[in-house]
């Protein structure tokens, strides 16, 4: 029996931290859906987490090199599936993101699972280069590959998830080693294209951006969500209002308090102290994943771990930044806390990738 695939090599610290975050999430979902017709969400979340753990367990033994080998197929498959959401996707809140699975009542969000494919794609591509510095042509090729699913997701429209793809790409490219001058050029390009890009944003996306700049300017329109979220967070104060006592969440002033705004509901009921504790957990989680990247046996494993770290970090930055008013409103879930199967499963699958790499760290 192979020594290095022993279960004790699984990153138990990481898993423990993640499960703590999950527990906080379940508690918060329980609290905010109390007395609503969504109250079954908390035990559904437990089921999602348990099945997420099973999925993770299934991913760990399958050597990630095999997965990398199948990246072209995975890439084509996920792109087709993303195209499929336009054809048969369930439209919810004006956006087509979900593909219903018959007879289960579950809607799969393809763009969530596609994140894993992006991570593998970036890892595979950059590993294949085997150079210590990336040149622009190669970077543009990779960017082109990532951009196809990104544009598809952006058009659903789901700006937040599209941004996480870019984050994975950016993280990979950064690690792969892009010369400083190219980074500078890229920053300049973004600086120029943002005003132009604004022109192509949908109205609600523009409204979200402007409301991010000044949420009080339009307290009833697009700034409403940010304003309510900030009100929830601020009114939580240092120690919070207590579980099920957050008026903003309990009286539904806070939008989707079990999903995208779960963290502001948490901040309302547990205050600044609770926020610091949970953010610390997330911080340790990211750091553990980065550590796994550092101990990876070779580049492929490192890129995968760094991809997962970049993905989760971007999620935390975009989601938590949004609820606290530091980032524009983009509807993406907070990993391991927001209610929802697709997000939980994807996050656990990503953890599975990390552990997959970890278990094979002593290869050389």
């Amino acid at each position: 029996m192979p020594r290095y695939l022993a279960t004790r090599d699984i990153d138990w610290t990481l898993l423990l931290i993640v499960l703590l975050i999950c527990a906080v999430g379940i508690l918060q979902i329980y609290s905010t859906t109390l007395g609503t017709n969504l109250h079954s969400a908390w035990w559904k979340q437990i089921l999602y987490i348990l099945s997420g753990l099973v999925l993770m367990g299934m991913v760990v033994p399958t050597d990630y090199h095999g997965m990398l080998h199948h990246v072209p197929m995975l890439y084509i498959g996920s792109t087709v599936a993303l195209l499929g959401t336009f054809a048969i996707g369930e439209q919810v809140f004006g956006s087509r993101r979900w593909i219903p699975i018959p007879h289960t009542g579950i809607n799969l969000q393809v763009s969530e699972f596609a994140k894993l494919v992006i991570i593998l794609l970036v890892a595979r591509y950059l590993t294949d280069l085997r150079k210590d510095e990336l040149d622009v042509g190669e970077m543009l090729k990779l960017a082109g590959l990532v951009l196809i699913p990104t544009v598809l997701v952006f058009e659903q429209p789901d700006m937040g998830t599209a941004l996480t793809y870019i984050a994975v790409l950016a993280g990979g490219v950064f690690i792969a080693g892009l010369h400083w001058k190219y980074i500078l050029i890229a920053v300049l390009c973004v600086g120029i294209t943002v005003p132009v890009g604004l022109h192509f944003l949908k109205d609600y996306q523009k409204a979200r951006l402007t409301s991010f700049m000044d949420p009080d300017q339009d307290p009833q329109g697009a700034g409403w969500q940010v304003r309510q979220s900030q009100t929830a967070i601020g009114s939580g104060g240092m120690f919070g209002k207590g579980v099920t006592k957050g008026t903003q969440a309990q009286l539904h002033f806070l939008p989707v308090p079990d999903k995208d705004f779960v963290f502001s509901a948490f901040a309302e009921e547990h205050g600044f102290v609770g926020v610091v504790v949970v953010l610390a957990l997330y911080f340790v989680m990211i750091m553990r994943i980065v550590q796994n990247a550092q101990t990876a046996p070779e580049r492929a494993g490192m890129y995968i771990c760094m991809g997962v770290a970049a993905l989760l970090l971007s999620h935390i930055l975009i989601n938590v930044g949004m609820v606290v008013g530091l980032m524009p409103v983009t509807g993406i879930p907070l990993p391991f806390m927001s209610a929802g199967g697709s997000s939980i499963w994807t996050s656990f699958l990503a953890l599975g990738l990390v552990n997959n790499v970890r278990l094979r760290r002593f290869v050389n």
């Binding site: 294949d128 970090l313 930044g321």
Partner: protein
């Protein structure tokens, strides 16, 4: 072993193929698969992560530690709403305590202004069938008031309105349905002019002193008793603090913080519903007015004006269609003819002329006049209504047969000043002081007035028609009732009023020292009108000393009447009747004005019905009391305990 082999081979082979051994790649730079090159960049990533988390925590620090009070306040503003508890208005009761006007439980729609979106006004107005422009003006007007003061959008919500509100709760969270208790008025416009109606206070009213203590959106009395006694009937609205969710649905009521509404005080009228009903029925299909009052106190027992309107239409928001229908009606249904119709009294003025003649000494009761059907004075022939003439009459028969010639003669004899003086004495040309808004005063012609108004001298010929209640003399029905009632009382006039239990004041009573013999002469004449084959025989009530006087007043001069007739207007004379009973110490005096009724005898039956109803009721009560003396004793005992239970 196999696994070991495979994982070893990975380093060399994967992915996707062995590029190091592939000759095509030989010329490329040397390939690496170690991760050391990335160590520095991973460190940068770690530092970035630290910065990102600090950045996020700074956001929470700013909100939760630096200024939590600001956000707590916002959260409370979201959650806690003040909503008014509308105080029900006091009920209006008749003299026996029977309910005339009550309230009923209904729903009112409020537009809360804390979260009001101006662009919502139009769809809301459309959905509720309101005028969008009106609503916008209203919102603009109230903008100075504090935000928690809501706008009262609509009362008496229809099922369609409720459906609209319920189906748009998510879209228009500013709509709030609360319970209200609007007025429920009698059907078919019964007593509409006396009671009046309520409505939302208008800007013009707010600017007036009467409504100084009211604010935008308050419901106030705008007509009749509702207006006159608005302050009594209006309660004090309370306030309630409730916890609401984002849709404005109430989650919790804070009973401790509640300021309960204080209902308005009930108002007991002097109106007797039994008499009122009789008078209403008697006026069915006619235009005109009835006033019945107790000359001993001035208490109004019945007051009717026709045509009438339905005040229930005003309690919600009157539709433009209904308002136009009422406002454009040439018969002016909104006019309370009992206090606002000013017409020549015609022959009903004759008893006062007779009294003036006797009191001033111009004539005595034996004074006789021969009536050939006309009299010529100042070169002008004045006709008696009886073309063939009445022959020779004394004062008594002059009144009984309402002989115009007789009164032309004595009026001319005493002159305009004396007639005007006595008309003034009985209250013509002055407000009676009835407790209703908008009373008209009529007018008494006199040389002084003509000089003042037209800057000309009085023509002697003008005196003559005044003696038969024509010319420029105009009175209102209530003035006539008060005047004749006080005359029958022997010279004591009380201020007519509609509300019981008012503290009497010196102004309420006017007294003139009249010679009782003269009063008796006039009263006996009026007795003869009804009971001795006079003009009012139709009013006779068997077994009752009912006295009265008919009147048929020309609306216009004959020339003008022809002109009007050509236009298709009704030129028939107005019919008046004033009657009281009993002959000595009268208990009730009633006046009927029957517009275009042609002759006073047609008004006489109306007064007869009312007076008869009064005495019938009195007899019924006496019979009942005799039969139930034991019961009545106990009822009296209970009532001295002051227990509630007027019924």
């Amino acid at each position: 072993m196999e696994t070991e082999l495979r994982s070893r081979s990975i380093v060399v082979i994967v992915p996707p193929a062995d590029r190091n051994t592939d000759p095509n790649f030989l010329e490329q730079p040397q390939l690496h698969d170690d991760t050391r090159f990335a160590a520095g960049k991973i460190a940068i990533f770690q530092y970035s992560t630290v910065i990102i988390f600090l950045f996020l925590i700074s956001g929470f620090w700013r909100l939760q530690v630096q200024s939590p009070e600001k956000y707590e306040e916002r959260a409370e503003q979201n959650r806690i709403k003040s909503r008014p508890l509308y105080a029900p208005r006091g009920r209006i009761l008749d003299r026996d305590g029977r309910i005339i006007v009550d309230n009923h439980v209904s729903s009112a729609l409020l537009l809360t202004r804390e979260n009001l979106k101006l662009e919502d006004l139009k769809p809301i107005a459309e959905g509720l069938d309101l005028n969008a422009v009106d609503l916008q003006t209203k919102v603009g007007r109230i903008s100075r008031s504090p935000k928690y003061v809501p706008i009262r959008l609509k009362d008496e919500l229809s099922p369609a309105d409720m459906a609209f509100v319920n189906s748009h709760r998510d879209v228009f969270p500013e709509l709030d349905v609360i319970s209200s208790q609007p007025r429920l008025y009698p059907h078919d416009g019964m007593m509409a002019h006396v009671i009046g109606y309520t409505g939302e206070v208008t800007q013009a009213e707010l600017d007036s002193a009467d409504f100084a203590k009211y604010k935008q959106g308050d419901v106030v009395g705008q007509f009749g008793i509702e207006r006159e006694y608005n302050d009594t009937l209006t309660g004090v609205d309370g306030q309630q603090r409730v916890e609401v969710d984002n849709r404005g649905q109430v989650r919790q009521e804070f009973k401790m913080d509640e300021k309960p509404a204080v209902p308005g005080k009930d108002l007991q009228l002097t109106i007797d519903l039994d008499l009122q009903a009789v008078a209403e029925i008697a006026m069915d299909g006619k235009n005109g007015a009835v006033v019945a009052l107790d000359p001993r106190t001035g208490e109004i027992l019945a007051m009717v004006s026709r045509p009438t309107f339905d005040p229930n239409k005003f309690t919600g928001r009157i539709s433009t269609k209904d308002w136009n229908a009422i406002n454009n009606n040439p018969d002016k249904p909104m006019m309370n003819r009992a206090i606002q119709a000013q017409f020549a009294p015609g022959s009903t003025f004759k008893p006062i002329v007779a009294l003036a003649g006797l009191e001033s000494g111009s004539i005595n009761e034996q004074f006789s006049v021969h009536c050939p059907g006309y009299v010529t004075l100042y070169g002008h022939t004045f006709h008696c209504w009886q073309k063939g003439g009445h022959g020779t009459l004394s004062l008594h028969n002059g009144i009984v047969h309402s002989c115009d010639t007789y009164f032309y003669t004595i009026g001319n004899k005493m002159g305009i000043d004396i007639m005007a003086q006595y008309a003034d004495m009985v209250g013509f040309g002055h407000p009676t002081g009835v407790d209703l808004p908008g009373e008209a005063v009529g007018g008494v012609p006199s040389p002084a007035e003509v000089l003042h108004k037209y800057h000309r001298k009085w023509y002697a010929g003008e005196t003559v028609p005044v003696a038969i209640g024509q010319g420029d003399l105009t009175v209102t029905p209530i003035q006539l009732a008060r005047a004749l009632g006080g005359l029958a009382m022997g010279g004591v006039w009380y201020r007519p009023h509609l509300v019981k239990g008012q503290a009497p004041s010196a102004k309420d009573k006017t007294e003139w020292p009249l010679d009782p013999v003269h009063v008796e002469d006039v009263v006996d004449g009026m007795y003869g009108v009804v009971n001795e084959g006079g003009t009012g025989v139709r009013g006779a009530i068997p077994g009752l000393d009912f006295c009265g006087k008919t009147g048929s007043a020309q609306l216009e001069s004959l020339d003008k009447a022809k002109e009007m007739a050509a236009k298709g207007l009704n030129t028939k004379e107005n019919a008046w009747f004033v009657g009281f009973a009993p002959r000595r110490d009268p208990e009730i005096v009633a006046v009927a004005l029957f517009e275009h009724g042609e002759h006073g005898q047609f008004a006489a039956t109306i007064v007869r019905d009312v007076v008869k109803a009064y005495f019938d009721k009195k007899a019924r009560i006496q019979t009942w009391l005799q039969q139930h003396s034991a019961v009545s004793a106990s009822v009296a005992a209970v009532s001295t305990l002051g227990l509630p239970g007027r019924y």
